[in-house]
Amino acid sequence: MASFEEPRVQINAPPKGPLFDAEEERLARRKRTEAIARWVVPIVVMVIAIVWWDRLVVWNEIPHYVLPGPGLVVETLWTDRAILFSALLVTLKITALALLVAVIGGVGLAILFAQSKFAEMSFSPFAVILQVTPIVSIAPLIFIYIENRLIGLLLCAWIVAFFPVLANTTLGLKSADHNLQDLFSIYRANRWQRLIHLQLPSALPYFLGGLKIAGGLALIGAVVAEYVAGSGGLASGLAFRILEAGYRLNIPRMFAALILIASTGVMIYAATSLISHLALRKWHESALKRE
């Protein structure tokens, strides 16, 4: 009897609060909690890790030339700012230029491949060889042949970064909808119109995926190349500063430089993700919010 009565009471009761049932309410509450937790949880864990690092150093009395505490690292970041930030600028410059050239070269080559099968057959083996050969093994040769250190670094970073752009964009250019391609033929579109209005927009999501990968790789390429290139003179980036600090057992500065490199990588990833989101949010499946 009681179980019969209960729902009737609920139906007759005036609706208070949100107008959905208990389950929906629970789901909505969980969603809200998750939205907050998405930001709070990683920050809290990060803070705990840093505090734990600090305590580890203090309680065990670890000397700073073995493991500096986070306070000392931040302090070094400040006291060595002149050296470190000029080094950061150099690394950033090489990374950004390499990424730019990778985008131009990768997209340009992809367009060429999409226009001509023979071009693809002829050149894609070179692209693959460049991609699969570790950059550390090519870099010494590059620095023998190329005297300008900056251009050498740029070339190394480019070799690492351009392939994902090329591979993804090529795939994207080829994946335009078949019926749309027919439609363009029926409307007598020329090669140029087809490229601009059909193939490039179709390739955009693929290209942006490639860009995200290439951004990280350009930084890796720039850093690795600098390790290989060694002593630097004017154009000394972060990698060189790490090497140098290592020779002098200046561990806090190594950590400070490392933090700068890591933040740069995170920034690049955030920037490419933002670009991707802004470009695709209106129409692409990947940017859809599911209900």
């Binding site: 439609l183 363009f184 927009p201």
Partner: protein, 264 residues
């Protein structure tokens, strides 16, 4: 062409297919000896089972492939350059708004959006999508996407519109609604349409001429005239003539599916 003094003047022939054969690599005969005249204002359905070459016929007319034998002649100047096409899928550009999708045929002819905005809005109004100009395809339902596709096909007021099973992927109710609307559209624009379908009822409801096709090899086996002039209303679906024509069409289609009874 001589002027004929008649209540219904003889419509101008715009396309003539003569003894067209299409054989694919590996000796697959997709189409054998297909002939038809398409006159201004015709609504022709190509009806048949899969593999009967109806889509091949459409692709040949669209100029996407050439006949192995026979001729396809446009009787009007620049006929082949003046087509509208609707595929089974809406085939919209997902990155472009509704308005810009409908703009495509003009855009590929080098016309700016502002120069043809009136025509675009008129076409969208015809298919009942006024006010959706700035929406993206993903915001629309399947039926609405199809309407955009139809608007794009007729925005240039083409001499001939080709429709390749346009409503086959839609649910029955949406399909019926779109059929009604297509008839209304036909009444308003007197468009010339070749319509590929595998639905007997759809073909009878919409068209004034039905070419029943058979498979292996693809060929036309029967031609059925639908005795109901345009404009037709949705009430046509309940009339005696409709049921009778559907029955005749169905029988013709049955014979293609069971050729042994034809031999008897």
């Amino acid at each position: 062409m001589p002027v004929v003094a008649d209540a219904r003047p003889i419509a101008q022939t715009i396309l003539r297919m003569q003894e067209v054969d299409k054989t694919f690599a590996g000796n697959v005969v997709a189409l054998r000896r297909m002939s038809m005249d398409v006159r201004q204002g015709d609504f022709i359905s190509l009806l048949g089972p899969s593999g009967c070459g109806k889509s091949t016929a459409l692709r040949l007319i669209a100029g996407l492939m050439r006949p192995t034998l026979g001729r396809i002649d446009w009787q009007t100047e620049g006929g082949g350059d003046d087509l509208g096409v609707v595929f089974q899928e809406p085939t919209l550009m997902p990155w472009a708004t509704v308005e810009k999708n409908v703009w495509l045929p003009f855009r590929l002819r080098g016309k700016s959006l502002s120069a043809c905005r009136d025509q675009i809005h008129e076409a969208l109004e015809l298919v009942g999508l006024k006010g959706f100009e700035r929406r993206y395809p993903r915001e629309l339902s399947g039926g609405m996407k199809m309407r955009v596709s139809i608007a794009r096909a007729l925005v240039t007021n083409p001499r001939l519109i080709l429709m390749d099973e346009p409503f086959a992927a839609l649910d029955e109710i949406t399909r019926q609604k779109l059929n009604d609307d297509l008839l209304a559209l036909k009444a308003k624009t007197n468009a010339t349409v070749i319509f590929v379908t595998h639905s007997v009822f759809e073909s009878v409801f919409l068209s004034d001429r039905i070419l029943v096709m058979a498979a292996r090899p693809g060929r036309v086996v029967a031609e059925i005239d639908v005795p109901e002039p345009y404009p037709r209303g949705a009430a046509w679906r309940n009339s005696h003539a409709y049921v009778e024509t559907a029955q005749r069409t169905s029988e013709a289609l049955q014979r293609t599916l069971h050729p042994e009874t034809e031999a008897l």
